[in-house]
Symmetry: C2
């Protein structure tokens, strides 16, 4: 055995974590992602960073047991990435590429939402549960599902990508996917801004956001935390839509816990309580339903989960 | 090793199947369910029937390898049934009870929708798939989910019970669960009759069902198969609602195949094509999506799956 590395490869930044044999985080750092040359420099960069670490710490190469990677796109079981816009990869296998640099090291790759879910499951908010669904609220809504310690991939690698499930809320505007009323239209950062702008336009009520020219989801969350009534209403609508969706998942798949992560979740308890309120109202068959809580690992979840992926074969 | 028995215990009838060591059905029969004495006679009846078979065939008791049971209610991993209205069981463990009769035989019990799903997965329409969702269209809508050969139980034993997921169809009438717009309000036998009556009332269009005083779901399906335009419209609405629901499951859980069973599915291709049409219209992210097909085992699915449960530990 030996140490592990978890690497979360994003479109602008690569996050590295060095882990002990037991999977405890020893050190973390990050570096910008160089996507030039159709992303062909990314894997050599990853290898260079890991080597710099091992050389610096006096770790021999046979002291590295495994390297796991999180990729911002669908990854098949063999590590193949058909297309990943953010990294400019087309028909590329990062596992095979990294294997060329570390032929004797166990290497694995998975979708970053799924590795984030694994991270929360093994080391974060999902630690005490058997089945978990991570929902990431960022520019869009994504997620990952863990059942009995394993990622649920789905037939097309899309399990957990719940953004385009119906929120069962009346809506006339069309979603980017072509449908209307998707969870993504409400619970994403984009959705929050959209609903806030609509409320400011349709209602006369005062709001600290009226003065602002440009509004971000963070502004809305902060205004809501400060008690701005219109911003609170916006969060209730947006997170209510997510709560509806989670109630339907509970009726169909009945996980033990929903963990809410991603940038928007930084707003904290105000998000969770709005989700819970709508969720409980829609839960008819299951009295208590699932637990709903905030992610614990935040931005580290994908990197930690990438390590868990190669450690546990999730 | 030895032979197996699969037993599907319903509220009015118990279905028995005798299976070879390889899980092939040798013989099947059924008997009425005696629910008197708070259902305490059911398990002794099951034992008696199995013994009659083995004695009749000259099979020694150590020639029985396993007995699996399907129960019309939630069953926990240890076989405990907290409440099963149809069998009048309250806090009862049918596995422990049957074990008293066959101490050296492997015994297992599961929810009947889940055993039906196992049956279709191993021996029916789901045979060539890794992940499958069975949807049973009966008085209500139920179902079971199989992932990698195992039943997905869910935290509260309710996974697959999709009747009360939103069909994302506008609806004012309230569902029995208290919500509005549930799949159950459309795709169940009750739902089909409800929508047909509404269409007959609201539209002037002629229909062969106008003359009938009492209308059953079977009548509507038969009229639709004969080309009755209003009945076809009814099936399109009801199965369209189910198709919507399945599209959302695909976005969230992405199974390989949906198998449609239960009494209503007896209408055949007219059901499948209406479900497929709505499903394809809602599928934006996954071009091809899941396969959708009719169940193959029909009423035998639960009994076959009960055998698979004890054979494969599903």
């Amino acid at each position: 055995m030996g140490m592990f590395f978890g690497v979360d490869i994003g479109g602008t930044e690569i996050k590295f974590g060095a882990f002990s044999e037991a999977g405890d985080l020893l050190e973390k750092w990050s570096a910008p992602t160089d996507i030039s040359d159709m992303g062909r420099k990314i894997i050599p960069d990853v290898a260079r960073h890991i080597r710099q670490y091992t050389v610096g710490k006096g770790v021999r190469e046979d002291g590295v047991a495994g390297i796991g990677m999180g990729i911002p796109g669908p990854v098949d079981k063999a590590g193949y990435v058909r297309t990943c816009v953010n990294l400019r990869w087309n028909g590329f296998n990062p596992v095979e590429e990294l294997k060329k640099e570390f032929p004797d090291v166990k290497i694995a790759a998975g979708n970053d939402a799924n590795t984030a879910a694994l991270g929360e499951y093994y080391r974060g908010a999902g630690k005490n549960y058997d089945s978990m669904m991570l929902i990431t609220l960022g520019t869009g809504v994504g997620g990952g599902i863990i059942m009995n310690g394993k990622v649920l991939l789905g037939a097309h690698g899309l399990a957990g990508e719940i953004g385009h499930v119906s929120a069962a809320v009346p809506e006339k505007e069309q979603c980017s996917c072509g449908n209307t009323g998707c969870i993504d239209q409400f619970a994403s950062a984009t959705g929050i801004v959209r609903i806030m702008k609509r409320l400011l336009k349709e209602r006369k009520q005062d709001s600290i956001l009226r003065k602002q020219e440009k509004i971000s989801a963070k502004d809305v969350c902060e205004a809501a935390c400060q008690g701005d009534a219109l911003a609170v209403r916006c969060i209730d609508i947006c997170m209510g839509a997510l709560g509806n969706g989670l109630a339907y998942f509970s009726h169909a798949f009945d996980p033990e816990v929903y963990v809410i992560g991603g940038g928007v979740s930084g707003a904290g308890e105000i998000i969770i309580s709005a989700v819970k309120k709508a969720y409980r109202e829609k839960m008819f068959l299951i009295q208590d339903g699932a637990d709903i809580c905030l992610s614990k690992l935040g931005n580290d979840a994908g990197m930690v989960g990438a390590c868990m992926l190669v450690m546990n074969g999730g």
